[in-house]
Every structure is written in structure tokens, then in C-alpha cells.
């Protein structure tokens, strides 16, 4: 990782206009803004149906200043391939091609196209902003909705299945660069985007995105909730570079401190987890502890 950014070192150029249709306190709006700052002006975006489609504006007004192609739900990564191909035929090897899709568009309906583009080694960055559900259509469960979470179609007992580990799936494609980030740690996100530009082929970002209406908390607590997810060891910030995983930012600090905030605090701060029983929370805490034992041992 190159030098660490600070708030003051961030570029001031903004690529999103105010007055979008995003919900008040939207975690995506924070991550998207900082992500575009890192990508810069010479960038082309691809967006499938998702909250971002709404955030970025309805015809004829675009909230995004960068060129952006809206595509069908399952075709995000394939469309990125198409843009790269066209640019190559025009001798353009400098414009960054970046896809921004939600967790459903990535882990469910768009996974096949993403796997194809990754396997082809197309040179682009795929950002999955993971608010852990189909929020734009009214908070239905997705492949990355965590176990136990209440959603519109897991209304009473919460989602029975585990969260799909998409970064691991993408790492299995032997990508040069895979990273997880969080809207609550924008500087970490910014530095990782800058860092990934040096790597060839498809780069994959999985960004944890707190979502007030979807997760059930007061909008003002968005950053606190996002940080709790990391400080409890529940969602980890890391980079996988050519197959090697290293924890970064707040997760790296946890490695040194060797002390996790109890995951109960994260669950109790969100109404979507209100049906989690104490036993289930204990079980999840056990899984987190085992995972971190793994991190501690590899860190040595």
C-alpha cells in the first residue's frame, strides 16, 4: 500500500452533484463519492439496476459528472468488457473502466458475467457496493444478506442462509487484486483504489455499505454502524494481492490489539437483527473468534 491519505490530502474535485435521490444518510453516496475521487476524470462507468441507478439521476438529469452506461441487471461485467474492447480499438489504453453494482447485481444475477470477465482478465475495476440486500426494490434478501437479518421476504425469522463470500469467489479467479472496503473508512477505500491501478486484469472491490432504511438505524449513526462491523471482526478490511491476504486499516489494528468489540453491539444497533437470539449471537461470536484465531496465527 502506498502512502496513507488524510482528509486534507484528498482531492477536492467532486464528481457527483448534490440533490440526488439517494435516501438520507446513504452509505453508498459516501463510498461512491470517494471512489470517484480516486478514479478521477478519465473514467467510464457501467451501472446495472440498483440504488446507484436512482442516485445517479433520472433522465434527463445526471447526478454523475462522469460518462456512465446503464445496462441490464445481469450484464455489468460483460458491458465493461465491451467498453474496454471499444477503447482498445481506438488506441485508448489510459481511460479507467469501472463497474459499480450492488450486492444483488454482483453476487446473484450478475455473477456469471463477472466470472467471465474475471477469467478473461479484462482490465477494469469492478466495485460491488454491498448494502446486504435488494434495497432499491424495498429491502429483499440477497446472496450477501447476513444470516439472521430481517428483510421484506425473510420477514419473521430472518435469513436462514449464510452471507455469500464474494471476495473469496473472486480471489478464486486468481485476480491480481481483490480488496474489501467500507463506507465508514473512506480513506482506506481511496488508497486501495489508487493502489489497485498498478495491477493488471480485473480488480474486484467489495465495499460494505451501511443502509439506514435497509438495516434499521437512525441515519446519523451510519458511520458508527459501519465501524462497528469492522471493530467486532464481523466484516474485515483486507487486500488479496496475487493470492496473498493482508488485513488493512482498522482490521490491521485489531490484529495488533487482539481485542474485538462483542458482535452483540453491532447486532443490537440495527432493527434488522432484532430476531437474533442470544444463542445465535453466541454462535456467530464463536465463528468470528475462530476466524480471528486464524488471522492471529498467520500473522505470527
Amino acid at each position: 500500500m502506498s502512502a496513507k491519505s488524510t482528509i486534507l490530502s484528498l482531492p477536492r474535485e467532486e464528481y457527483v452533484h448534490p440533490g440526488t435521490r439517494a435516501c438520507s444518510g446513504c452509505g453508498l453516496a459516501i463510498a461512491y463519492r470517494v471512489g470517484l475521487k480516486a478514479l478521477g476524470e478519465d473514467t467510464m462507468l457501467i451501472v446495472p439496476p440498483s440504488c446507484l441507478t436512482v442516485l445517479q439521476g433520472l433522465f434527463p438529469v445526471a447526478a454523475t459528472k462522469l460518462p456512465c452506461l446503464n445496462v441490464t441487471f445481469a450484464s455489468t461485467a460483460a458491458a465493461a468488457t465491451g467498453i474496454i474492447a471499444a477503447l482498445k480499438t481506438q488506441g485508448n489504453d489510459h481511460t479507467t473502466v469501472a463497474a459499480w453494482a450492488g450486492d444483488g447485481g454482483t453476487s446473484d444475477i450478475g455473477l456469471q458475467a463477472l466470472s467471465g470477465a474475471a477469467e478473461r482478465g479484462d482490465n477494469f475495476i469492478y466495485f460491488c457496493y454491498d448494502n446486504e440486500g435488494y434495497m432499491n426494490t424495498g429491502v429483499q434478501r440477497s446472496g450477501t444478506t447476513p444470516a439472521g437479518a430481517i428483510t421484506a421476504n425473510t420477514p419473521f425469522r430472518g435469513k436462514p442462509q449464510q452471507k455469500k463470500d464474494v471476495p473469496a469467489i473472486m480471489a478464486a479467479h486468481h485476480l491480481s487484486y481483490v480488496a474489501t472496503c467500507s463506507a465508514a473508512y473512506p480513506l482506506d477505500l481511496y488508497d486501495k483504489v489508487k493502489n489497485c491501478l498498478d495491477y493488471p486484469g480485473a480488480k474486484y472491490f467489495h465495499i460494505h455499505i451501511p443502509c439506514p432504511p435497509g438495516w434499521g438505524y437512525e441515519p446519523r449513526h451510519g458511520i458508527k454502524i459501519g465501524r462497528l462491523a469492522v471493530e467486532t471482526g464481523y466484516f474485515d478490511l483486507y487486500e488479496i494481492i496475487n493470492g496473498k491476504l493482508t488485513l488493512t486499516a482498522a482490521s490491521e489494528k485489531l490484529l495488533e490489539k487482539r481485542k474485538l468489540v462483542p458482535v452483540r453491539e453491532y447486532f443490537r444497533a440495527q432493527s434488522r437483527f432484532k430476531v437474533l437470539t442470544d444463542e445465535q449471537i453466541e454462535e456467530i461470536q464463536k465463528q468470528i473468534n475462530e476466524k480471528w484465531e486464524g488471522y492471529y496465527s498467520t500473522a505470527g
Partner: protein, 399 residues
């Protein structure tokens, strides 16, 4: 210069001559030799283009949509269930007004699986806002691909070039290979009105509201309904463009026929057989046989199915006693889609004249069932002699 090759190669040569720069296709019988030939051209340096080995037909069209939006002349090809899997993207491409040219190597659709020829795949896509051009032989395949790019790029509407799987795609026949210089003269480089790029950023195809809305310049922008209407308007206007393409092509290459209907012995005919693709050439043999029996019959090959040339069809068939439609597809639950479209055109245009030709429909060759010429001839003869109207008769059915 004449060469002998199969229909797929004819199509691949047409795409290469048109200097497409982004090719994205997913393998499916009987289209595969086409994309393999394009890969050969590209790997051997005969063709400067990006070949994208996509992981599905849905992604094939996604690549084409994105590359075309970013200013590349693109090409793809598919058949049967590949086209059906791509349907969502097919609709998207026309709505986005992208001049994509796609070869559809006609094949039966599942279930059950069947890799042989019929036209159910492309006919089922007639409402998608794409133009559909049908080819009866290899010359028409390569020529139509070249015309298709000119028409598509002039109208900003995507075009399907359809030809029969196996019967044409895998069959070797001689055809003239157009010279590159002439194709370059016929088809100028691709200069779209707008290319998505950082130099001129825009947000394409985002959510568009039912009502019109003011843009950032304070001007009233269209609503979704206007955008769709303009697609329909331009599709109808494209009939004129298709005529110009034929004219321009014949000036440069010295060959060409009526842009909409390929006529064989129809001038003095009392009855006319109508169809699309290679069956219309086979019907010429039946026409000759019946002419020998003193029956005045001809055959018309419909070269443009969408936009439907209703005016040309009605004009050509005015005064005929009867039209016998031979189709390799149908709108299940009713009849052959071409038969319905034909009746509508005749009714709209000729009802007032009080002389509406009788229309009989035949369904043949479904799922590659061999169409024996003798059976075509006897069906044509019986349709001419009988006056009763019944729904489409299936030729070659074993029931």
C-alpha cells in the same frame, strides 16, 4: 471473384469486409463456424478487431451494446435458444438506438432440443424493434451483411441478418466475393452522432419517466413514450433507407433486385407463393413444375420482414387470385406470423378494391424436417385448386 464456401463463411467474410472492430459471440450450433472463421481472421492478422470470448449470449449482446455505445462497429451472431437467452438485450439494443448487426443462423427452439433449421427463433423476435432481413442464398448473405451495416448506421437501429441453419450455413455454394475497396466505398467508417467518452460525458439509458421533464438547459426533454415512438417512426422510415441501400449497392457492385420482394415469374401469375429464406428458391422448382402444367403461378421471396413492407407487398399482389404462404415458424395459438402480417397488409391496402386475394398458409420444415420438393409442389397445387379456407396446413407431418 467467385468462391465456393458455406453460408457461415459468407457471413464472416461480410463482417470482415465491413471492418467490424469488436466481435462478441457465444458458440451455438449451427452458428459456430462463423465465429471460428472470425477468430481465424483476427488471429492471423487478416482482420484488426477485438474478439471477446463471452460466457453467454446475454453477455455477447451486452458487450456489443457497450462497445457500440463507446463508438465501435460491432458484430455478433447466434441461433435458436442463444437468441432467446439474449432477448432482454435485443430489446435493450433497439431502445438504445445502437446500430448493431447480428447474424441469426436460423434454428429450431427448445423444448425439446433440436439443432436443425426452422425460423421460429428470429420470427419470435419480430416485435423487438430490430430490422430483420432474410437471405435465400450465400450471395444474399454476404451482400445483406454489408447492406445491413449501412442501413443500421444510417438509421441508428440494429439489424438481424437471418439465414437458414445448415441448409445455407453449412452448405457450400459459389458466390461472388465483393472487393474490399468497393465495400469501403459503399460503407464509410462508423461515425456515430454520439460516442460515450470522458471527453463528452453523459449518462445513457437511465430511468426515464413516463412524462416529459426539463433538462439542465431548461429545455423540455422527451419522455419514455416519445423515445419509443421515435424508434417506431424511424423503423417505418427505414423502408425507404433499405431501398436506398439496394440502389447504392447495385451502383457499386452491379447486382441487386427489388429491396423487399424477390420476384420469380409473378408478373403474369394468378397465384403467388410467398416465403422467407431458402424455401423460396426451392419453391421456384415447384413453380416451374406447375407452370408446365399450365398453372400461372409465381413465387416471391420476402427479403425484409421488419419493418414489414406492407405497401410493396400489397402492390405486388394486387389482382392476384390467391397467395400461398410457406412458413417455417408460427405464432403458436394462431397461425404463421407472416400469413397474419400478409393478410393485414392486403386488408389495409386492398379491401377497398373489393378484390382481396385468397390467402392459404402452410407450415413446413419445423425442426429441420426435410421439405421434399414434390410435396411442396403438390401442396401448392392443392392450395390453388381448393377454395376452402382452413388454418395453416403442416407439410410433411407424420400424424
Amino acid at each position: 471473384m467467385h468462391i465456393i464456401e458455406n453460408g457461415n463463411v459468407a457471413a464472416a467474410m461480410g463482417i470482415r469486409l465491413c471492418r467490424a472492430t469488436v466481435i462478441a459471440a457465444y458458440p451455438i450450433t449451427p452458428q459456430t463456424p462463423l465465429t471460428e472463421k472470425l477468430s481465424e481472421y483476427i488471429d492471423s492478422g487478416q482482420m484488426k478487431a477485438e474478439y471477446i470470448p463471452v460466457e453467454s449470449e446475454h453477455s455477447a449482446m451486452a458487450v456489443c451494446i457497450a462497445a457500440a455505445s463507446a463508438g465501435a462497429r460491432v458484430s455478433t451472431a447466434t441461433s435458436a435458444n442463444g437468441l432467446l437467452y439474449m432477448h432482454e438485450q435485443v430489446q435493450w439494443a433497439s431502445g438504445a438506438r445502437l446500430p448493431i448487426v447480428m447474424c441469426v443462423v436460423n434454428r429450431a427452439v427448445g423444448a425439446p432440443w433440436n439443432i436443425w433449421n426452422d425460423q421460429q427463433d428470429s420470427v419470435s423476435q419480430r416485435d423487438t424493434g430490430w430490422m430483420q432481413l432474410y437471405c435465400a442464398d450465400h450471395q444474399q448473405i454476404i451482400d445483406t451483411v454489408i447492406k445491413a451495416y449501412w442501413i443500421a448506421e444510417k438509421s441508428s437501429i440494429p439489424v438481424m441478418v437471418c439465414y437458414d441453419g445448415y441448409i445455407l450455413s453449412h452448405t457450400y455454394m459459389p458466390f461472388d466475393l465483393p472487393e474490399q475497396e468497393k465495400v469501403d466505398l459503399f460503407l464509410p467508417p462508423f461515425r456515430p452522432d454520439y460516442v460515450l467518452s470522458p471527453a463528452e460525458p453523459a449518462n445513457l439509458n437511465t430511468v426515464t419517466l413516463p412524462d416529459t421533464r426539463v433538462d439542465i438547459h431548461g429545455e423540455l426533454a422527451h419522455g419514455y413514450m416519445e423515445i419509443r415512438y421515435l424508434l417506431q417512426e424511424d423503423l417505418r422510415n427505414s423502408l425507404e433507407l433499405i431501398g436506398q441501400a439496394e440502389q447504392r449497392f447495385s451502383e457499386i457492385f452491379g447486382r441487386g433486385t427489388d429491396p423487399y420482394l424477390e420476384d420469380y415469374l409473378c408478373a403474369d401469375a394468378e397465384y403467388v407463393a410467398l416465403g422467407m429464406g431458402s424455401i423460396t428458391y426451392q419453391l421456384r422448382v415447384s413453380v416451374d413444375a406447375l407452370r408446365a402444367e399450365g398453372i400461372k403461378v409465381g413465387v416471391m421471396g420476402l427479403r425484409v420482414y421488419r419493418p414489414f413492407p406492407d405497401e410493396a407487398v400489397a402492390a405486388a399482389l394486387q389482382g392476384k387470385k390467391g397467395v400461398i404462404v410457406f412458413e417455417k415458424a408460427l405464432s403458436y395459438g394462431y397461425e404463421g406470423a407472416l400469413a397474419s402480417d400478409l393478410k393485414a397488409a392486403l386488408y389495409d391496402r386492398l379491401a377497398a378494391t373489393g378484390a382481396l386475394p385468397r390467402v392459404r398458409g402452410f407450415i413446413a420444415g419445423i425442426g429441420g424436417r426435410d421439405i421434399r420438393t414434390a410435396e411442396l409442389t403438390s401442396s401448392l397445387r392443392s392450395a390453388i385448386q381448393e377454395t376452402t379456407h382452413t388454418g395453416p396446413l403442416w407439410i410433411g407431418l407424420n400424424l
